[in-house]
């Protein structure tokens, strides 16, 4: 799966206070050090071989946006980047994707977007399979018969599925609205496209969390997609976009 390409943020350096017990010094040229609350380098204490991490300009910009929301959310992002870098850990990409999925699923509540407890699809399917296995399909000589009880249960599952998945899309739509630096809403049609994109990004991280195939290159592409998607809302390059829009309008109205 390959994400769409977006223009990336310019690289730059800054010093960002991440949380009460971690200071990240970021520089495009030099790796940064993360120190614990004791002030000692974790590596020096015998932790992971190398926990130093570098943030490019795009990542710093996103980190600031996430820090504005919550330190917890920002820490999920940092955790994902650290896991991605910990190549000595054979499960590092799955862990990185897990952090990002958690981030995506937790963002709505920081915007007060109502998130209903919809339950997990797997749990519902498992319950249905169990029921199916218990089902005696031989009735009145008909070996394909299904009980009314099973049909009711199946209908309930379908109803749940139908009402649950549009809700997830609605959550995505509302979340994207909250990120929009203009403070206004996009037309519904465009919002839907963006919600779809956001759900695709989430879908990749969910699958990779469950150990679906994910290479480092794929991960890098998708995390870049994730970063640029959020920054394009929260820190948009408005005037560059305006230049591009001008070009498209010129193209459309050349002979109009």
């Amino acid at each position: 799966m390959t994400p769409k390409q977006r223009p990336t943020q310019p690289k730059r350096t800054t010093r960002v206070k991440v949380s009460g017990d971690a200071i990240v010094t970021a520089n495009t040229d030099q790796p940064a050090a993360i120190r614990g609350s004791s002030g000692k380098d974790r590596a020096a204490r015998g932790g992971a071989p190398d926990e130093r991490i570098s943030f490019d300009g795009q990542q710093q910009a996103l980190l600031r946006v996430l820090m504005d929301m919550s330190e917890d959310i920002a820490n999920m992002y940092i955790g994902a980047l650290m896991a991605r870098q910990a190549e000595h850990n054979p499960d590092h990409l799955s862990q990185a994707c897990h952090s990002l999925r958690e981030l995506i699923d937790n963002v709505p509540k920081y915007f007060d977007v109502p998130v209903e407890s919809a339950g997990r699809l797997g749990d519902h399917v498992s319950a249905l399979i169990t029921r199916w296995k218990r089902e005696s399909r031989v009735r009145n000589g008909n070996d394909e018969a299904v009980s009314e009880g099973f049909l009711r249960e199946f209908a309930a599952f379908v109803e749940w599925q139908e009402s649950n998945f549009p809700k997830r899309r609605e959550i995505a739509r509302r979340t994207i609205q909250e990120f929009d630096a203009s403070g206004r809403s996009l037309p519904e049609r465009i919002e839907e496209l963006h919600a779809q994109e956001w759900m695709e990004i989430r879908g990749f991280f969910v699958q990779a969390t469950h150990h679906a195939s994910c290479t480092l290159d794929e991960f890098d592409q998708w995390i870049d997609e994730f970063e640029t998607f959020l920054l394009s809302k929260a820190r948009p390059q408005t005037f560059r976009t305006a230049d591009r829009i001008d070009a498209l309008i010129r193209e459309g109205e050349a002979d109009a």
């Binding site: 300009g57 910009a61 203009s182 037309p187 519904e188 005037f239 976009t241 305006a242 829009i245 109009a256």
Partner: protein, 956 residues
């Protein structure tokens, strides 16, 4: 041939990231060729709905509808097709654009949307929709599309019955009758109705006129005060003239607006086609309402040709002439058109006037005396045709006039004049100037006012006398003693004139004036055998005694009109009795003071209270002039035992129970300390008694001290324990009855000044308790005071202080701020803490603080969730600091921006923001430039497109 197509629109959709991008796209389209592919991409499907926000509602703009509005003149068919698909919405900012589009397209194409426009008008929000719809209505009228125009007019100008209002209480309620009210905003209604009238009538003629007529009838029927069955509207009272006239009150509701528009419409129809005049008049008169009959008469006067049967029929008409309801319009018609009648008709008119109306046709006032009333009516009618009366009739008219039967405005049954009537004088001040002193005394003693309202009175004469004395104080001062025994009103006027002259620095001889004052004081308060008459302001000597206390106050001030020190004994002899005056009494103080007025203000409006203030001024006057006291070695009151005795005496409650008088001790505390430090320190516990039973005296003195006195260190030393006591009361009810914040803010300022001067430390119990107990607004005012103490604002510019504060003071201020920030951070920022930290906005412009300190503390406060005050000043300082501290400035600005969803800072200081960003964008550090670009783009996303040039300029 390239043309916008589906593919291009899809590319646009891929491109846009924020709502601002979409708005930018739509706002920059110039071709209607985009309409179809955009519609196919569903971009016109979903107008934004109103959004409920904090108890109000937000109506988002829709750039797609703006685009359609712009394109309608270019491609009306395409726009019409899209309009058909757009769902209805209550978002009036959208429907306004849609109506713009309808106005711009051919009316016959817009006609199908009339039902939808009607439904939009019924929505809960209006904004400019009524104006836009009235534009559409005019378009229909222009094309004589009568049905569409009238349908819109009926919807736009529909009326409803308002609520009746009950006024008053305790059984004296009055029901204010309900009035007709528009469905839309009244201002918009009035504007729209006046705007559409010419086009509506030009396009629809009689149909439009009848719509307006019915509208007025509807208004009359919705009025509770109108009598529906008898159709009595009393319009001659609330609408004196149908034509434009100063007597008409423009604020008298929707009926008046409709009347004016209907009158203009009727005239317009009749002038456009004279043959319609009779139809117009008949249409108006058919309703039976008097106000419409009046309009009909007025239209006849305005439009009917000479020698018109319509005119003569109305004038030579007993029912019209005797009709009270239409008097004004009939009188005007008679006045203008009598000369156009035939001689016979004129004779008939005069005959009707001679006969006079039956009694029931007279007004109530006329009926009271029917003969006089009839003659007044006749005079009124004859006055309309005075120029054309035959000689014998004119003689009769003159006779009626000489009998006083003609009022000043015969064209009206009632006439309103607006003027202020005050006490009047029988003579002017120039006449006083010409009288000799003996003549003046004689006149003042002998003149007696006549009873009656608006007749000259003693008070009026006193005012004129006062003005004469003010103009020549020296002349009257020389003979001041000769004014003894005059009425107290005159004496008060004279003494008050000397007070004013002295206050203006005019020099005059004080001794005779003081002798007059001494004589007055010696009389006591009561004047034997003097009863207050209507025209007199003084029935006893209380007023003049109060004036004398003020007069002495003026004379004891340093300046050109200061009393000579040699007159010290005379001054005291005048003042001393006033210090024992019975005013204020306990009863009066309870009634007029208390919660009505703070004790200090009440004191200076009483004789004894003002005399106490004057006594302190007396002490300061002696202190200035007594050579023994100039050395500063002697306790001041040793040289003025008379003052010490007075001050001692009035601190004894059984001698003086007035809290107003006690407030004077607080008001002048620093100066009492100056005059006699020992006496004041010994008596500080008497001035501020600690017993709960005496709390009102403590409160009165303390309140006056805090509210009126600057913070002096010497006073603080003597009153430290009182400050602590006062803190305990900050959280409870406010001591100042009228200006609680003023007292509390002054109190906070005292503490801040003592802290900055080193008299208090941060850990001092006083400050700790203050910040623990004081309400958030008071704590905030303390911090604001400190920030504002380091600069001035002149003509909107920050100006450093002439006398710069020491480094110690600056450091103490910084320590204060840091301690308050830590306190807020420690407990987590709540509303109360946010209120305090918001005041850092007033610190930020102060030029005395280190920029790095300012920026880091601003950032910290904003990061904690503070929305700082004075954002325009903050923005200005940020712009100043941007060249030297670009990264920190950008970070602080960025933080503020993120906490300011309404972008108030950018709106209030766009130039400063531009300067700041420009400095950062041209910085040599690429990181700074990138950050500045990021912020500039964010501003763009919020709709501040003007900053785009910053980026293009830098690129070039």
């Amino acid at each position: 041939m390239p043309k916008p197509d589906d593919d291009l629109v899809q590319r646009v959709l891929q491109m846009v990231q924020t709502a601002e991008d979409v708005d930018y796209f739509f706002d920059n389209l110039t071709s209607p060729e985009w309409i179809e592919p955009l519609a196919k991409a569903h971009l016109f499907d979903s107008p934004p709905a109103p959004i409920a926000v904090d108890g109000g509602v937000q109506l988002p703009a829709w750039s797609a509808s703006r685009y359609l509005g712009r394109m309608a003149p270019l491609a009306p068919l395409k726009v019409r097709d899209v309009l058909r698909t757009i769902p209805d919405t209550d978002n009036v900012r959208v429907t306004q654009n849609l109506v713009d589009a309808l106005v711009a397209m051919p009316p016959e194409m817009a006609a199908e949307f009339v039902p939808r426009v009607v439904s939009w008008l019924k929505g809960p929000y209006q904004l400019l929709l009524p104006t836009k719809v009235s534009d559409l209505l005019r378009r229909f009228a222009d094309e004589a599309m009568v049905e569409e125009a009238i349908t819109l007019a009926e919807s736009l100008f529909k009326l409803r019955r308002g609520e009746s209002i009950s006024v008053g209480e305790d059984g004296f309620t009055h029901e204010w009758p309900s009035e007709a009210l528009p469905i839309i905003d009244q201002y918009e209604y009035e504007r729209a109705l006046a705007r559409i009238r010419p086009d509506l009538i030009a396009g629809t003629g009689m149909v439009g006129l009848e719509f307006l007529r019915d509208l007025l009838v509807s208004a009359m029927e919705l009025e509770e005060r109108s009598s529906q069955s008898e159709k009595q509207d009393l319009s001659w009272i609330w609408r004196p003239a149908i034509e434009p006239h100063a007597q008409n009150d423009p604020g008298m509701g929707i009926r008046n607006v409709i009347i004016s528009v209907l009158r203009d419409a009727a005239i317009q129809v009749a002038r456009a086609d004279r043959s319609l005049l009779r139809l117009v008049v008949g249409s108006l008169e058919s309703t039976g309402w008097p106000v419409l009959r009046r309009i009909a008469v007025d239209v006849i006067r305005e439009v009917a040709p000479r020698r018109s049967a319509l005119v003569s029929a109305r004038i030579v008409s007993e029912s019209s002439m005797y009709d009270v309801d239409i008097h004004h319009e009939y009188w005007m018609l008679l006045n203008e058109r009598f000369g156009q009648l035939t001689p016979t008709q004129q004779q008939s008119v005069i005959g009707l006037i001679r006969r006079g109306p039956p009694l029931y046709r007279l007004t109530d006032a006329e009926v009271d005396d029917s003969e006089v009333g009839r003659e007044a009516w006749q005079a009124r009618m004859l006055s309309a045709i005075e120029r054309e009366l035959p000689t014998d009739v004119h003689d009769w008219f003159d006779e009626l006039v000489s009998k006083g039967r003609l009022n000043e405005h015969p064209e009206f049954l009632s006439y309103t004049t607006g003027m202020w009537v005050g006490p009047t004088s029988p003579v002017g001040d120039a006449e006083f100037g010409e009288m000799t002193d003996d003549e003046l005394i004689e006149f003042l003693n002998s003149w007696e006012p006549e009873p009656g309202w608006r007749k000259p009175s003693r008070e009026g004469l006193g005012r004129t006398l006062s003005e004469a004395v003010r103009q020549s104080p020296e002349r009257y001062a020389e003979h001041a003693e000769s004014f003894r025994a005059l009425d107290p009103t005159y004496v008060n006027a004279i003494l008050d004139a000397f007070r004013t002259a002295g206050g203006n620095g005019v020099v005059f001889s004080w001794e005779p004036v003081l002798n007059l004052a001494g004589w007055v004081v010696a009389q006591g308060s009561k004047v034997p055998n003097l009863e207050k008459d209507v025209g007199s302001s003084e029935s006893d000597w209380t007023g003049p005694r109060g004036t004398i206390a003020h007069l002495l106050d003026v004379g004891l001030k340093e300046g050109p009109s200061e009393i000579l020190f040699e007159l010290r004994e005379l001054v005291w002899s005048v003042l001393e009795p006033l210090l024992e005056d019975r005013d204020p009494t306990v009863e009066d103080e309870a009634r007029f003071g208390g919660s009505n007025m703070d004790p200090q203000s009440y004191a200076i409006n009483t004789v004894r209270g003002q005399a106490m203030e004057t006594a302190v001024k007396y002490g300061l006057w002696v202190h200035r002039h007594d050579s023994e006291l100039k050395s500063g070695q002697l306790p001041g009151f040793d040289r003025m035992p008379e003052l010490r005795a007075v001050l001692d005496r009035h601190l004894v409650v059984r001698h003086d129970r007035s809290v107003a008088v006690r407030s004077m001790y607080g008001r002048w505390l620093p100066w009492l300390l100056l005059m006699d430090s020992n006496w004041t320190q010994v008596n500080i516990k008497r001035i501020f008694p600690s017993r709960q039973a005496s709390a009102q005296y403590w409160e009165a003195a303390w309140e006056a001290y805090i509210a009126f006195c600057p913070a002096f260190n010497s006073v603080f030393e003597a009153t430290r324990s009182e400050y602590l006591r006062a803190i305990g009361r900050l959280s409870g009810s406010s001591p100042d009855r009228r200006h609680p914040m003023m007292y509390q803010q002054h109190f906070a300022q005292h503490l801040m000044l003592f802290y900055l001067r080193g008299e208090l430390e941060l850990r001092d119990k006083l400050l700790v308790e203050f910040f623990k107990v004081a309400p958030a607004d008071v704590r905030a005012s303390a911090l604001r005071f400190v920030g504002r103490a380091f600069y001035r604002i002149e003509a909107g510019e920050i100006v450093p202080l002439d006398d710069p504060p020491s480094q110690v003071i600056i450091e103490r201020a910084c320590a204060l701020w840091e301690s308050r920030f830590l306190a807020a951070e420690l407990i987590g920022l709540d509303d109360s803490g946010a209120r305090e930290l918001a005041e850092f906005g007033w610190w930020f412009p102060a030029p005395v603080f280190e920029p790095t300190w300012l920026l880091s503390n601003l950032g910290a406060a904003v990061r904690l969730g503070t929305t700082v005050e004075a954002r325009h000043l903050v923005a200005r300082r940020l712009a100043e600091l941007a060249p030297s501290e670009p990264a920190a400035v950008l970070e602080a600005f960025d933080l503020m921006l993120r906490g300011d969803s309404e972008s108030w800072m950018v709106l209030s200081a766009p130039d400063e923001v531009q300067l700041m960003l420009h400095a950062a964008l041209t910085n040599s550090d690429p990181t700074v430039r990138a950050y500045a670009e990021e912020i500039t783009n964010t501003l763009g996303a919020r709709g501040f497109r003007q900053f785009r040039t910053l980026l293009t300029d830098v690129e070039h």
